[in-house]
């Protein structure tokens, strides 16, 4: 899976990103005020129903919770050791609802819609001199850099494997850093040569 977004048509997809974010934010605040098992059971059923409303591939996305299972186990053990096992169960239920609800936004919202909805939160960055236009350029650069960095690392690793026979080593990290930094310098120069971010057409 390269992206978390589930490409599909559904009523949740049609809902504006800002509304979804607001609803989940309010739900999260309310969830922290509650500690009733029955309400949480209802909440869990509600979240499952929302995933189910997306169809089969929606239900399949419930598996994201697997990433938290080990953590939940540790929380339960720690609660059990502190003699509050029941509270532990309530906490795990609350966190499950919280996590699944927030995750649902990402499944049903395209990246650029999400970006637009979240932009107001990043207004304070202007105090540090980050203009929205530059912010957008920064985002684009990261999206291009990330796969490229992995490629650089893969090339170094193949060369290392050919020389030594072993697959991976921390010794690769420093040459990787230097290669990658050179690349970023080249990009900075290329950007400057083209008139900088001010020279980019919209």
């Amino acid at each position: 899976m390269i992206s978390i977004y589930l490409d599909k048509e559904s009523w949740l997809h049609r809902l504006p990103a800002g509304v979804k974010l607001l609803v989940v934010a309010v739900v999260s605040i309310v969830l922290f005020q509650l500690d009733s098992v029955w309400v949480f059971l209802g909440g869990l059923a509600g979240v499952f129903a929302l995933y189910a409303s997306l169809g089969k591939d929606g239900l399949a996305r419930l598996s994201v919770i697997r990433g938290l299972l080990m953590f939940f186990g540790i929380v339960l053990v720690l609660h059990w050791l502190s003699g509050t096992f029941f509270e532990g169960i309530v906490v795990v239920m609350r966190l499950t609802i919280l996590f699944l609800a927030a995750n649902l936004i990402s499944i049903t919202t395209r990246m650029d819609d999400m970006m637009e909805a979240l932009m107001p939160l990043f207004k304070p960055l202007q105090w540090f001199g980050v203009q929205p236009r530059r912010f957008a350029l920064g985002v684009t650069l990261v999206l291009r850099f990330a796969p490229h960095l992995m490629q650089i690392f893969a090339i170094l690793r193949e060369a290392y494997q050919a020389r030594t026979g072993s697959r991976n080593s921390w010794r690769l990290l420093a040459p990787f850093a230097i290669h990658a930094l050179r690349m970023s310098d080249n990009v900075a120069e290329a950007l400057k040569a083209r008139g900088g971010s001010a020279g980019l057409s919209r």
């Binding site: 978390i4 990402s106 540090f128 650069l141 970023s184």
Partner: protein, 186 residues
Amino acid sequence: MADRSLVHIAFYAALIAALGLVPPVAIPWVAGVPITAQSLGVMLAGVMLGPVRGALAVLLFLFLVGIGAPYIVLAGGRSGMGVFASPSVGFLIGFPVGAFVAGWVMQSTKDMNVLVSSAIAAAIGGILVVYALGIPGVAMMTDLSLAAAAVGSAVYIPGDLIKVAITAIIAQTVARGLPSAILSRS
């Protein structure tokens, strides 16, 4: 802010993402706790870029995780808004603050050897600060006492110490091979 700074910030944001995709290594002498390379990226961003740019790089990374950008994931492949509703949210908040502090320490120890100063910076910013925010975060999300949350989080500290050492070695190597890249000191 210069375009060059923007490229560097984007670069470290991407580096943090790329390191999150490196498969975790289990350390046998601490009950096989998986260590991931991601917080190495946070330490490096602070140490190499300095406080403001380092923190901005981490924030840019977290923003892209939040909007569910392709390839930009937390260690373990997690992405999307769910990560900010997960129990480790305190650590995520600690990341940019930690990078800021690491960068600040690096800057204020300019007359020290790069190896020593980057190790101190990474330990204070990348461990002390990150855990100082992460542990209360876990306690708040899970209703555990601070002590219990600290016990639960402490298993990752040995792995983080290894990352401090790697950060220092990388900073030292880069200081020799490409000194202009240690922006926190220029």
